[in-house]
Amino acid sequence: MSKTIRLAIALFFGLAVSAAAQDIKVGTIFPLSGGAGPDGQSVTNAVKLMVEEINSKGGLLGRKLVLVSKDDESTPAVGVSRANEMIAEKADVVVEGWNSPVTLAMQPILARAGILDITAVSKSDLILSGESNPLAIRINSSNGFDAAVIAKYVADTLKAKKVAFLTQNDVYGNGFQTAVEAEFKKLNFAGQIVTTEKFAFKDTDFRVQLTNLKTLNPDAIIVTNSSNSSGLPALVDQYRQADLKSAFVGAVGIMLPTVFKVAGDANNGIVSADIYFADLPPFNGIAESNAFVAAFKKAYGVAPDKSAALGAAALQVWAHAVETTKSLDRKAVAEAIRGKTIKGTLFGDATFLPNGQLQPRYVVFKVVDGKTAKLEALP
């Protein structure tokens, strides 16, 4: 046997042995402190749960998964530091993103280092624009799809004649409003947009806007407020106090558990939509989803919310793609996800657009009892 072949065999076995001994590093970067701390903690817990589940089934490619979770403190500069730490620790994949600016700052860093980056929750359209990361993947829905659902409900189901907007004044809120207005045009919406009131993300007092809206008395007010821990519950409370008769239509995904917990039955009657519910169809008919919900309840004492589901799904999708391609290479795995369908996730069949966006399935709901977050799915 020639020297080269002997060397090659030795290397091959050496690599095989060391590969089996090497764990696969899964990194998560979410806010674990500060205002979004509890939310980020919930998503990280969900990823942790998935990692444990995969390990209990024998791991991935015969190797064990190890979770490394870091806190981005909702600050882009800190997120960049954490991303660099992930690179130094040679993470094989990073699941990240609660605040869009943090995601946008981390993307180029991870992309340059060749680490696969899956964005779980951040909603900015720039994440998938390809400039920071040509192989981006995002689990949460985008404003474009969200707008279609809400516009359809307001135009076709509510058949509202006068509509107003109460919009958070940033790219997310304004983007959603623009998208809804575009959808209205597409649907040949007969109604009229009477006014737009705006507010800052950090605002907790909305009396001035609500007073303006009450005077105009629209049939429906489309509310976009992503401050689920303080602004939105305060808004809901003040909405009821101001005794507005207009239908409260919330943008997709804003009715998170904290909103129910804080505003309680002021939430009754709110209509919104979201892309995951532990106990509503079609999700309560998906085996993986029920298994996840049961495991989450057992481990953490509460049912998982949409954000937790996004984190868990991110890991599931990645794990399935790794199994299919039998590789951890960033390009190979990303291309097994983007534009493809991954079966057997807690979302059921997860179909991704070529730009990396997961195609969402929406459930439009009405809040029946705000205190217990009991919802009624609307057709």
Binding site: G37, F199, D203, V208, T215, G231, P233, Q241
Partner: protein, 284 residues
């Protein structure tokens, strides 16, 4: 009806600003001490009130007292630590030190009270008043009344009592006051403690309007800054008028222009005023 309701909204907002600004303006006027921990003290006052009501089961008035007490003690600790810098009037270092204290309070509160949002039950913020087409809550009334009473009390105190004139003497010229036998140390200590107590009261009254988070503070008190400078530093009556005026400005600017830009507008106004009318701010 819109205008009338916006006037009510403006007064509600304004009395909140004025209430929170009182301590700051006196501190700034007397000790020339910019307390950058003001926002975190507000947050802490709100959380102590919450803890007293929700965990210790105290009724609301006692919770307010608890908040005032706790923050007063913190004020004593902070001021004692800073005393040397205050006596040497090392203003630059003092500003940075209060910034540092603010950070410590934020981190510490997050560790003690956690990151979840909390509401303050047992207050009057849910008790609505409907006056024809107008609406507000009894809590709003409480804030308004107590703010006016507090301002009146403090104004009378500084004008009519001996201790009030002592404070004004120290504010005028600390070295000269010391020559007259006034213990400036005690004055500074009491003024700082008053600021902490006042912001605790403000927090206990205003914070129940919305859920509280340990990460809050900056936004809640940013208007304080504008109120104090607009009203004239150290001027009690000025702070009240500026507070209410600012509230009305925000309500009307928001109603007829754009609510989202009110912070920018308020601060731009502040900058303009600082440029064209720096009275009370000019060098001695």
């Amino acid at each position: 009806m819109n205008i009338a309701q916006q006037i009510v909204n403006g007064l509600v907002l304004g009395s909140g600003y004025a209430c929170v600004a009182l301590g700051w303006t006196i501190l700034l006027g007397v000790a020339r001490l910019v307390n950058f921990a003001h926002g975190q003290l507000y947050m802490l006052g709100a959380f102590v009130t919450w803890y007293a009501i929700a965990k210790a089961g105290l009724p609301y008035p006692f919770a307010i007292l608890a908040a005032i007490l706790v923050l007063a003690i913190i004020g004593v600790v902070m001021q004692s630590a800073m005393m040397r810098l205050v006596m040497t009037q090392n203003l630059t270092s003092l500003m940075i030190v209060t910034l540092g204290f603010g950070y410590m309070l934020q981190g510490g509160s997050a560790l003690i009270f956690g990151g979840n949002p909390q509401t303050l039950p047992g207050t009057l913020s849910r008790a609505k008043v409907d006056l024809g087409a107008l609406w507000f809550t009894w809590q709003d009334v409480l804030v308004f009344v107590i703010t006016l009473a507090l301002y009146a009390a403090v104004w009378l105190f500084t004008r009519k009592t001996r201790f009030g004139s002592v404070i004004r003497a120290v504010a005028e010229d600390p070295k000269l006051a010391e020559l007259f036998g006034i213990n400036a140390r005690i004055v500074y200590l009491l003024v700082f403690v008053f600021e902490c107590a006042a912001v605790a009261l403000g927090a206990a009254l205003v914070a129940p309007r919305s859920p509280i988070l340990t990460s809050m503070g900056f936004n809640e008190v940013i208007m304080t800054f504008v109120v104090v400078v607009l009203g004239g530093i150290g001027s009690i009556g000025g702070a009240l008028i500026a507070g209410l005026g600012l509230g009305l400005f925000i309500a009307f600017f928001g109603a007829f222009v754009a609510q989202a830009y009110t912070t920018a507008a308020a601060f731009a106004l502040l900058l303009v005023l600082l440029v064209i009318r720096p009275e009370g701010l000019a060098t001695k």
